[in-house]
Structure formats: C-alpha cells, structure tokens
Subunit: 148 residues, 2 copies
C-alpha cells in the first residue's frame, strides 16, 4: 500500500515583507539563495534535501485560490514531494482518511507541477506535490529548475 | 567570524490538540515517533538531521515565558543548533545585528540545554540552541537523549 513516508521537503512561510526577508537572510546572515524571484519568493536550502521558502503573502494566499483557505491560513506550508500525479492523488486521499481536512483538491499548480493540500487536525497545512523541476542529488543538494 | 550557517534542525509547531495530532500522524499515517511525551510533545524525524515537533500549545507558549511573546506567536519555531553556549550568544547577536528582533535572551532551557529566540523581519521565530542531548549520526539519523 502506498503510504506517506516521514519526509518534509519544503518549509514555506508567508512573508508580508519579502524585501525585509531578503535583507535579513541574504544581507544580514549572508545566506545564498537557491532561487530568488523578487516580489514573489526566495528559496534557501537549509538541510540535505530541505528547502526553506519565504513566499510573498499575496502570492501565498493566491496559491490557495478557489479553496476555503484564505488569510486565516497559518502562513506555513510543509511540503511532501512524490514522484507522480497519481501519488499526489493517493497520498492526499490517505491524509484525508487519516483525519485530515482537504484544503485544495489535487490540481495543476501555477508553477507547472501538480499538487493538493490537506490540513492536519491542528490546522498545519501539508502540500502533497509532484514537481518535475525539483530533484535532490546524492549529496543532498537540491536542484530547482523550470518545469517542462 | 562566526556565522549562522544555512541550517534548520527542528521545525516546532504549536498543537492545540496533541492527542488529535498523535492519532493523525501515528495512527493515520503510520509514522514512527522519535520521542512521544503525552501531554507535551511528539517528535518525528522528517529528513536527514531534521525533526518535526508537535508541541502542546500551553507548553509552547510557556516556553516563551518572561518575553514579549505570547499567544500572538505564529505557532512556529525553526531551530538552529550550535555546539556551545558561547555560540548561542554569538549567533543570537548576529541575527539581531542582521535586523532580527530579540524574543528571548539566551538562557538555560527547561529541557536542560541553552537557547535564545530571535524573530526575523516577518515574525518567523528562530531558536538558536545548544542541546547536549541531541546528535545526528553519519546516516543523518537524529538521536534525542536526556541532557546530563
């Protein structure tokens, strides 16, 4: 049986002031971004295979368009990546069966992949995602590229 | 110069209903905890070297005792572990110098280690922590033990 293994791949945080976040992490702490899209999102790798994303709040909320989720979102998404769209469907279903609340039905994502969102019983939002532009090499380094 | 390297070691989330969290992650998803302390906290390893903690809200808030932080906390803490107490002091200072807001001055932690908390410009709370009971082995497996 397909199960959702114990793995977080992305931590995404709502950032009301993305420029301030950039100044803090890049300027102040000297961190190197994996990808920096001004006005939208900044990604930093923060462990083998793990990415921290600071996501402009307007985009963060818009990404939940057409769902019950809105500004009341906690501002946090934990992402769990899987290999196929079918696995997204199956893992979202498993999480719902486990007692989670469906937030966004599995669907094409704006970035070109495919994802669905489920909240755990305390409102923690998990994105179950198939992202063809993402891979982790043997050293644990994350590579983010365009989705074909 | 000592710098805060790009690393998250713990993701800690406030859980208003810890029993529901246990039922979801352990019962529903079949995950194996690293440590489960009923009424207080459940830890799951979710990547090499990375721990997700579901922390009872009352304990989560109490852990910020004596600080400006209260129920308005975002319910999320990202932890960055360092090797010594002196490094905690230095990294907290670096984060403040980078534009962060001091939430909890470096001090002895209830669990026996030593920690301080700084919020980034968007209110994301980082715990800078020396935890003698924590280690990651060569395979990326986290070990949590009592602090001497």
């Amino acid at each position: 049986m397909l199960t959702m293994d114990q793995r977080v791949h992305f931590i995404t945080l709502s950032a009301a002031d993305l420029d301030a976040a950039r100044a803090f992490y890049r300027g102040g702490l000297g961190w190197t971004p994996l990808l920096d899209v001004p006005g939208e999102i900044i990604f930093f790798q923060v462990a083998p295979g793990l990415v921290l994303g600071l996501y402009d709040t307007a985009h963060f909320v818009a990404d939940m368009h057409g769902t019950p989720a809105d500004g009341k979102l906690g501002g946090l998404t934990l992402s769990h990546n899987v290999a196929t769209r079918a696995e997204v469907d199956a893992v979202v279903q498993q999480a719902v069966d486990a007692g989670g609340t469906l937030i966004k039905s599995p669907q094409r994502a704006d970035f070109g992949g495919y994802h669905g969102h489920v909240a755990d019983p305390n409102g923690v939002v998990w994105e179950i995602c198939h992202n063809p532009g993402w891979r982790v090499d043997e050293s644990g380094q994350v590579h983010l590229g365009p989705v074909e």
